[in-house]
């Protein structure tokens, strides 16, 4: 049974994927041939390395400053904290207590994971349904979804927060419904695009074999849509995890905060900002994402490419 996942994956390949793989092989050979000839290759590596270092510096700078006494941070952000400037984890303790970081983190986690699961499940079903059932209604829904992708959030900002308020959706579970509604545009659009490319004969064969639509969907269509599910969940997760405005308007902020809201809350009000706590919280917000990225970067990057090509 140990080889089962592998055979399953092979089964997932569509003709277009095979074509892509073949292209990739061709490309690789062409480019390595190129590289051998180019005398500048080494030079470019050096230049790109320097740019990479510049790219990473901002993150490192924040980490360095999170160990600095707060009075020194804005005065000299580029120095290494030594001697009396160094405060250990004081900033972290301070910041975590001030904004309740862990409960904010938990809220963010619940909202992001919950919304992504709900979006994937509901929108993939809906996307497949509107591609297969061509009625006036389903066509309307498709175009509404496409339209909703262009509309900026400010357009519905006020009315959405009032609607959510009157339906009592101001908690981490209620906001999942809002995210399903506002995220449906992109998800349904992408699922429709991929569902169109599934040969209808496969589904007909399943129906003839006695599957009802539900079984057909979960046992035949869903496995084929798996790559799309991954890229949609990555795009939606990147958006929801980092979203500030929607949760700040919809959630009951006295009870529930997400990570971006908690960080903005540090700044809120008048008077000086505790830069030490701010730096520490920025580090706590960034580090989990970077660790996650390090482990799943292949999926993330492929997901972005797939999303862009269809979008």
């Amino acid at each position: 049974m140990s080889y089962a996942p592998e055979t399953l994956q092979k089964g997932d390949l569509l003709p277009s994927d095979v074509q892509l793989l073949v292209n990739e092989k061709k490309k690789k050979s062409a480019y390595s041939y190129n590289a051998r000839r180019s005398p500048y290759s080494m030079l470019w590596t050096v230049i790109l390395s320097i740019i990479s270092v510049i790219y990473v510096i901002p993150v490192i700078l924040v980490i360095v400053n999170s160990f600095k006494r707060k009075a020194y941070i804005s005065r000299n952000p580029f120095s290494i904290p030594t001697g009396k400037e160094f405060v250990g984890i004081e900033n972290y303790v301070n910041g975590i207590n001030k904004i309740g970081f862990f409960s904010a983190f938990l809220n963010s986690l619940i909202i992001t994971i919950g919304s992504v699961i709900v979006i994937i499940l509901c929108c993939s079903m809906c996307g497949w349904y509107i591609t297969r059932v061509k009625t006036f209604f389903s066509t309307c829904m498709y175009y509404l979804c496409v339209f909703s992708m262009i509309v900026p959030f400010q357009m519905v900002m006020y009315t959405l927060s009032k609607t959510a308020d009157s339906l009592h959706l101001g908690n981490p579970w209620g906001i999942i419904v809002v995210y399903l509604g506002f995220g449906a545009g992109l998800a349904v659009f992408m699922f429709c695009g991929f569902a169109k490319s599934i040969p209808i004969e496969i589904e007909e064969a399943a129906m003839i074999d006695g599957c009802n639509p539900l079984q057909t969907y979960f046992q035949v269509v869903m496995p084929i849509l798996k790559p799309t599910c991954i890229s949609v969940s990555i795009l939606e997760a990147m958006w929801i995890w980092n979203d500030y405005l929607l949760p700040s308007l919809v959630l009951d902020k006295t009870k529930y905060k997400t990570v971006p809201i908690a960080i903005q809350y540090l700044k809120g009000g008048y008077g000086s900002v505790d830069m030490g706590a701010m730096m520490a919280m920025l580090v706590l917000a960034i580090v989990p994402i970077i660790i996650f990225y390090a482990f799943s970067q292949k999926y993330i990057i492929d997901g972005v490419v797939a999303g862009a090509v269809k979008g």
Binding site: S32, S52, L61, M125, R132, F182, Q297
Partner: protein, 281 residues
């Protein structure tokens, strides 16, 4: 036959998404258009006032300023992000050593949220400007270039990934044929690669254009419109109209409608323009 079977499954397959879509988009959108013609402080006390909100909106000098500020910002960031994104993508498809590492590093800032990004760059830019006894909030120009640098740092990686996929789809035999015919490197780029990656250019300009017009979090965190709302982009201006002053909700909603029309029109014009340049493979 199967179709009719499927149709009765509507409540199971499409209804949950449909209801949520109603709550999350259709109802707020419709209500928003209606309210833009009303004077109101809450949704229930709306009094229709015709197009007065739209007239008042253009008398607001801050809105006009934000409009031009955003337009300029969008133009500069679309050009710089796409230029650098494409240039790095070209380098990373040459088979240079360390390509995968570079790709990973350049994409990384995309995963960091706008609020966090804003505060990171506030620290750095203020640290640099402090050497000249200046600060980000001294002038709208500093805020402008600060946002441009921030957006470039964040988005170059994303666009680079899309461009890499586009460049890798150019058939190598096409480039080889051009070289055999005596095309120089620049000619290959201009006459073979660029036309072939036009679909990627369409997507990337679309994404950067709409992203820069809709930019909010970064603006809020980096300068929050300081000095005195001069570095305010459109999205932040609308937000402040809603939640900063009482009695301006109607005007805020009218601004939002105009904002949506601008973004929609620009997106469509841009898609048509670049789409026309795409070639068949």
């Amino acid at each position: 036959m199967t179709k009719r079977d499927l149709r009765i499954y509507f409540p199971l397959f499409a209804l949950p998404t449909f209801i949520a879509f109603m709550i999350g988009f259709v109802v707020p959108f419709g209500l928003g258009i209606y309210l833009s013609f009303c004077k109101f402080t809450t949704v229930n006390d709306a009094i229709p006032v015709g197009i007065k909100n739209y007239q008042d909106m253009f008398k607001d000098p801050e809105f006009i300023h934000a409009l031009w500020y955003t337009a300029l910002f969008a133009v500069v960031s679309v050009i710089t992000i796409n230029f650098f994104g494409f240039a790095i993508a070209m380098l990373l498809t040459k088979g240079i050593r360390g390509t995968n590492l570079f790709r990973t590093v350049f994409f990384m800032p995309n995963l960091i949220g706008g609020i966090v990004l804003g505060y990171i760059w506030q620290l750095i830019l203020n640290g640099i400007l402090a050497h000249f006894n200046l600060a980000l909030t001294f002038s709208e120009t500093y805020g402008f270039w600060g946002l441009i640098i921030l957006m470039n740092w964040q988005q170059i990686g994303y666009m680079m990934i899309i461009y890499i996929a586009g460049i890798q789809n150019v058939p190598p035999d096409l480039i080889e044929a051009a070289k055999i015919d005596g095309a120089t490197g620049r000619q290959v780029l201009g006459h073979v690669i660029l036309p072939m990656v036009m679909p990627s250019i369409t997507i990337c300009t679309f994404l950067t254009l709409t992203n820069s017009f809709k930019l909010f979090d970064q603006n809020l965190a980096l300068t929050n419109g300081l000095p005195s709302n001069r570095s305010e982009l459109l999205a932040l201006n609308i937000y402040n109209t809603f939640y900063g002053r009482v009695g301006y909700e109607g005007i805020g909603q009218a601004k939002a409608v105009v904002f949506s029309l601008i973004v929609g029109a620009l997106a469509i014009i841009q898609l048509v323009l670049t789409h026309r340049k795409e070639v068949q493979q």
